[in-house]
Amino acid sequence: MKNLLILGGGTAGSIAANKLRRRLPTDRWAVTVVDSDDDHRYQPGFLFVPFGTYRPDQVTRSRRRYLSGDVDLVYARIERVVPDEHVVELSDGRRLPYDALIIASGVTPRPDQTPGLLGEEWGRTIHEFYTYDGSVALARALSTWPGGRLVTSVVEMPIKCPVAPLEFAFLADSHFQERGIRDRVELTYVTPLPGAFTKPIAAKAFGSTLSDKGIDVEPDFMLMEVDPERRVLVSYDEREVPYDLLVVVPVNMGADFVAASGLGNELNLVPVDKQTLQSKAHPDVFALGDANDIPTSKAGSVAHFAIDVFVENFVEYATGRPMTHAFDGHANCFIETGHGKAMLIDFNYDTEPLPGRFPVAGLGPMSLLKQTRLNHLGKLAFEWIYWNVLLPGRPLPLPADMSLAGKRTDLLTTARS
């Protein structure tokens, strides 16, 4: 009997476990997931918790319940991987041998990496919304906040769901309008990027949405430290941005055990081949979801599309054949823009997000890079799809490869000039 070990039972780990369990013969392969607890968080929900549109108890379900009965789940902390011995060491002293290893331990916000974030003001005037505790604390702070300067700050790229901080700023604008205090709130969006997003055409669209909503942008701002007493952000080139309430997206890093195992880069991300997700250092190690270093967005949609391709490859790998499928970097993200509307983007390694219709060329019904009510309904419906279609690994009627049909490719040459 061979062992497939999956480290991490979040989005990528659960989808991979459920899909591979169906594809690998049960008398030949055991599939085991390791995670420290049973709390599977619906991470897209964290964005809505601060504004009271999602209740905190809506975002958590049982990991065990969303893993196939034939998948073993081990609750433990991971100490390190010993690739040369093909063993994973757990902090309780157990050693789990593997024939193939999938690292799906994601990334975590690390406020400890920026001086001035963690301290007395953490959870008071300084917040984040990428964790359960963070989004709940921010909900409390926002509900009674009287107004002032609200600064949304991205510390460093890459981050999980790179559109989420934009969505936060858009939703804050509509939240304060609904509370009737928008005129008492100054909104600023601080980013290390030269514009609102990583890709030029979408950056333009998001940039004009920010300015339409009266949100100031401070681009090219690499945050060096926060001075919690003077309430200012200080950049490496000595610019300052003042705040009354700071909502920060801290540096995102892969798991510490990845670094301890010598498997990570400078952000503890596992370097992999971007088409097969196989470790560049160890052929029996793969990294799925946010844990790897592929040059596309860290997002659940990427994990899902990538795993569609990965599963086909792994079935070949498991029977000693060469892997013949290649992931194209496909990502698909809804962007909440407030007032019951949302935008949608669809892109891959080679093609940036473009306007157009999705998923059917000319017909849609979704519109790309345009604020519509239907996109917002799509984002809300996605929660049901996540638990009932994506995690169980059921087929979604969307191909893994990105399609150019329906996209305004004519914009590609004009936008760059």
Binding site: P162, L193, T198, D220, E266, S297, R416, S417
Partner: protein, 104 residues
């Protein structure tokens, strides 16, 4: 792919003026590229440029500022002073490397 003349030699560049052929670069091109964006190269600049070239050769991608500081041992704040405003981008430009990935 467009070409341009830098330090008296024809080199291939992308639409933003970043060199596209690793081996077309030499120290004279670096001096010319730097001066075109108002930078006069000092020993500290050269340390950063050499790190960027070596790292690209081994990793196949342009290093980020974090990489220059954690792997290359350079001080982030000094990099901002050396290559004012956008150190990763300017460092890549002068070192003849592709524009850095912005982390998507």
């Amino acid at each position: 792919m467009p070409t341009t003349t830098i330090a008296g030699r024809k080199v291939s560049v992308d639409d933003d003026g970043f060199m596209t052929e690793f081996d077309e670069w030499d120290e004279d091109t670096a001096v010319a590229l730097a001066s075109s964006i108002g930078i006069e190269l000092t020993a500290e600049h050269w340390k950063a440029i050499r790190f960027a070239r070596n790292d690209y050769r081994s990793q196949g991608q342009t290093p980020s500022i974090r990489r220059a500081s954690t792997v290359g041992g350079m001080d982030t704040k000094s990099l901002f002073a050396l290559f004012s405003g956008r150190p990763a981008t300017k460092m890549a430009y002068i070192a003849g490397l592709p524009k850095p990935a912005d982390g998507s």
